[in-house]
């Protein structure tokens, strides 16, 4: 048993594991880069992002001082991407946050009371939300409270709740029959405590993966809302809005669609890699086998 001796878990060993995971490093670099763009946009952008310069419209990337070119109103694309990152990232992040923070406890609660009426009520209510067309409720919310990023967040967040509730319940159900849960029950621990101490850490893997997927979907959902005019309102912009505005001009100037599109792809990729890396380094079983 002594040959298996390893150093107890310390912060430096966690850090070493993090730096050893290529997924984590690449994902973290991309994600931090995008976040940095959004933060910097508050104090500096190459051009004022809403400043129009019609004579210089549709300039391809790398012409003059416009690193990513200009759009149909001659606005600087890089500046728009930087400012749009604020909206897109905050919408996606908050929407996923709402979904995970409400949905996961609901799912855990349902799993802890599995087979009871409460379980049925929670899950059927989730099914109801899940079955409702997302766009319709977004339109409903914006009709009531007006369009804007905050309402988009709420609308997208609501639809993330059942995703996390179902996932958490399903993963938790299989854990509840495991012997270590029985051992915890023999130790007198209640359902809430067992859910927090034993169930949640063991379904975190699955949740982290789902969070990255939902984050990506959140960016796309914001784009969809922007497309029908329910997202960020002018002069504010977002990646989705840029994409929506460019759709009629793709043939004329492909870069106006490609630039925001690629930005979304790279961001989603970064967040996915970050999620994969996190999952690996947070699992003590996988940590040892990683070099």
């Amino acid at each position: 048993m002594t040959d298996l001796a390893t150093a107890p878990l310390r912060r430096d060993s966690l850090l070493r594991a993090a730096l050893g995971s290529r997924n984590f490093v690449v994902g973290a670099v991309i994600t931090l880069g995008i976040l940095l763009l959004a933060v910097v946009s508050f104090i500096w952008t190459p051009f004022p992002f809403s400043a129009q310069d019609i004579p210089n419209k549709f300039k391809p990337p790398l012409t003059g001082s416009h690193l990513l070119g200009t759009d149909y109103l001659g606005r600087d694309m890089l500046s728009m991407i930087m400012v749009g990152a604020r909206t897109s990232i905050s919408v996606a992040l908050l929407a996923v946050g709402i979904g995970a923070l409400i949905g996961t406890p609901l799912g855990l609660w349902a799993a802890a009371r599995r087979g009871t009426l409460l379980d049925e009520i929670i899950m059927r209510a989730n099914d109801l939300v899940f079955a409702f067309p997302a766009l319709l409720i977004a339109i409903l919310i914006t009709a009531l409270y007006g369009p804007g990023a905050v309402n988009a967040i709420i609308a997208i967040g609501i639809f993330n709740v059942p995703v996390f509730a179902r996932l958490a319940r399903g993963a938790a159900l299989s854990l509840w029959t495991r012997e270590f849960i029985l051992a915890a029950r023999v130790a007198g621990k209640g359902a809430a405590r067992i859910s927090a101490e034993h169930i949640l850490p063991n379904i975190l893997n699955t949740l982290v993966v789902q969070i990255t997927i939902q984050f990506a979907l959140g960016i796309l959902a914001e784009a969809a809302l922007a497309y029908v005019g329910l997202g960020a309102q002018p002069p504010m912009t977002s990646w989705g809005k840029m994409l929506a505005d460019s759709q009629t001009m793709v043939a004329l100037a492909p870069h106006v669609a490609i630039v925001p599109g690629l930005t979304i792809v790279v961001t989603v990729l970064g967040v996915n890699l970050l999620g994969d890396g996190l999952r690996d380094i947070l699992d003590p079983r996988l940590r040892r086998s990683r070099r």
């Binding site: 270590f180 850490p201 003590p284 040892r288």
Partner: protein
């Protein structure tokens, strides 16, 4: 000619040798038993014969089936051999069958893959094969689904799939380990009969010496990828050469030294009185009456301080349900349970005071721990029962260290995670977790069933020693009568939710009264009795025991005693 002959088989991945210089042979109509503990490479040998070694492994040597080297065959050729010339039976009948296909389809599938027959002809062969394994019409039509069968019946279907095309060689990897003893005896008899009828070779892989002693013609004992000893069954067991085989032999009939303290006090540690546990079943129709399944039917028992009581019975007899009721994991519908005279209420209102006197060790050393917690946190979990009285800081650490030391681990192990420990060590951690609140009673639910024989002997010693020293009582639940016999003072036999026989362990094993107890005892494989029975049937002089005669035998089994 020898049916299967393995010569100098090696298997390695990277720098690690999984198998080293394996020499084995199986004749037609012969049963070769391969014995080994986990990690000995016995299953890898089977997979190598089937050409199913996982990716990344490279092999050397020869595996000759009727003179053809299987290691030189392409994957396509091997596909033609698997299931046709070589059949395989796996351990777990619950997962070896596809739950969405009928048993007839699954047996016929093997036929249709290898023979260009139509469905009708394949079904006819399937029907014949199922008849041969004892699943006859009209009780077992081809249209039955796996979930409609018991574990033993499913294993018969798996065997039928393996022998449908009358393979020349059958490999059975722990075919009876997941089964009850009475079922195990039937499956072993079935395998023996099929070998005799078809004249096929059988490789029977197992960890249980008693299982192979009854039916194998030859034995090979493996350890760490090598064959340490091989020879004809009776001769080998009577004259074990290698220290490892001798240790294995001793461990399998190990009797822990017991020195129970004098029983003090008249209040029993555990008093169970008329406990009933019903499970609701779905209604047959919308307006049908509610139906119930009575898993535990009016069971009463009591355990005195320092007493070890065994509870035996086959799967589904209600012994685990009873254990869960005692652990207040499940509500009971009638009756009462008291610990040290203090009643345990139903599941929700279980009193913490009574629960403190009770701990549990489960069967699965892998599933008993949260993989994300350190051993310190795992072992300390029962402190929760002490509420505010739980030890803090240095005292807490001292208690953890003591519990770990008590089970033969070291205090430094507290900072590790469970995946760093072997199965036996994990079971020690489970015992440490049970000990830490100094209980009066530990429920051991199949606590040694998943362990290798040598590890099992160590754990049994540990349990016996702890019971003597700490005046612990055990409720030892097991399907393995052999183990129960070695560690308990008293034994209860349970059948269909009721206790059918109870009494002193020695008395019951020597003179069972209830027919069910007799049946269980008769089915339990017994190494000594199996060997004695076979010696009586064998000619007095075995050529293999005569070294001079052995030199002249054209045996493929060149790895003699003492090898490795």
């Amino acid at each position: 000619m020898t049916l299967l002959s393995i010569r100098n088989l090696t298997l390695h991945i990277g720098d690690a040798n999984i198998l080293r210089d394996i020499d084995l042979g199986v004749e037609a109509g012969e049963i070769l038993g391969i014995i080994g503990e986990s990690g000995s490479g016995k299953s890898m040998t089977a997979l190598a014969i089937m050409g199913l070694v996982p990716e990344g492994f490279s092999s050397g040597g020869q595996i000759l089936l009727d003179g053809e080297d299987l290691l030189k065959k392409s994957e396509a050729e091997l596909c033609g051999i698997r299931g046709d010339a070589i059949g395989m039976v796996f351990q777990e009948p619950m997962t070896a069958l596809n739950p969405t296909k009928t048993i007839g389809d699954q047996v016929a599938e093997t036929v249709m893959v290898h023979r260009r027959t139509g469905r009708r002809a394949a079904n006819r062969i399937a029907r014949e094969t199922l008849d041969r394994v004892g699943l006859t019409e009209p009780q077992f039509p081809l249209g039955k689904f796996p979930h409609e069968l018991s574990g033993g019946q499913r294993q018969r279907v798996v065997i039928a799939m393996a022998i449908a095309l009358r393979p020349r060689l059958l490999i059975a990897d722990e075919p009876t380990t997941a089964l009850d003893v009475t079922t195990q005896a039937q499956i072993l008899a079935l395998l023996k009969r099929l070998v005799d009828e078809d004249g096929m070779g059988l490789i029977l892989i197992t960890h249980d010496l008693a299982v192979v002693a009854g039916i194998a013609d030859r034995i090979a004992i493996m350890r760490l990828g090598e064959i340490v000893e091989t020879g004809p069954t009776v001769g080998l067991f009577r004259n074990l050469q290698h220290p490892y085989s001798q240790m294995l032999f001793k461990a399998s009939s190990h009797q822990p030294a017991r020195n129970p303290p004098a029983v003090t006090g008249s209040v029993p540690v555990l008093a169970v009185d008329g406990v009933v546990r019903d499970y609701p079943l779905p209604r047959r129709s919308l307006f049908g009456a509610k139906r119930q399944f009575r898993a535990v039917d009016g069971v009463s028992l009591s355990i005195a301080r320092g007493e070890n009581v065994g509870l035996v019975g086959e799967s589904g007899c209600g012994k685990s349900t009873l254990a869960r009721a005692i652990l207040s994991l499940e509500p009971v519908q009638a009756g009462s349970i008291a610990l040290d005279g203090e009643p345990l209420q139903g599941s929700a209102g279980a009193s913490f005071a009574a629960r403190r006197k009770l701990s549990v060790v489960f069967q699965d050393p892998y599933g008993s721990f949260n993989p994300r917690h350190t051993v310190e946190r795992l072992v300390a979990e029962p402190f929760f029962l002490l509420g505010l009285g739980a030890p803090q800081g240095a005292e807490r650490r001292r208690r953890i260290d003591r519990a770990l030391t008590e089970v033969g681990l070291v205090p430094a192990d507290a900072d590790k995670y469970v995946h760093e420990f072997s199965g036996g060590q994990r079971q020690r951690i489970a015992i440490a977790r049970a000990l830490i609140i100094e209980p009066s009673l530990i429920v051991l639910d199949e606590a040694v069933s998943a362990l290798d024989v040598s590890i099992r002997a160590q754990i049994l010693d540990l349990l016996a020693e702890l019971s003597d020293r700490l005046q612990l009582s055990y409720l030892f639940i097991s399907h393995d009568l052999h183990v129960v016999r070695t560690i308990t003072d008293r034994v209860l036999v349970m059948q269909a939710g009721k206790i059918v026989e109870a009494g002193d362990t020695a008395t019951i094993f020597a003179n069972p009264q209830h027919p069910y107890t007799r049946q269980l005892l008769a089915a339990t494989p017994n190494l000594e009795m199996a060997l004695a029975a076979r010696e009586a049937a064998l000619p007095p002089v075995d050529p293999f025991l005569n070294p001079a005669a052995k030199q002249n035998l054209p045996s493929p089994l060149r790895g003699g005693p003492g090898r490795g």
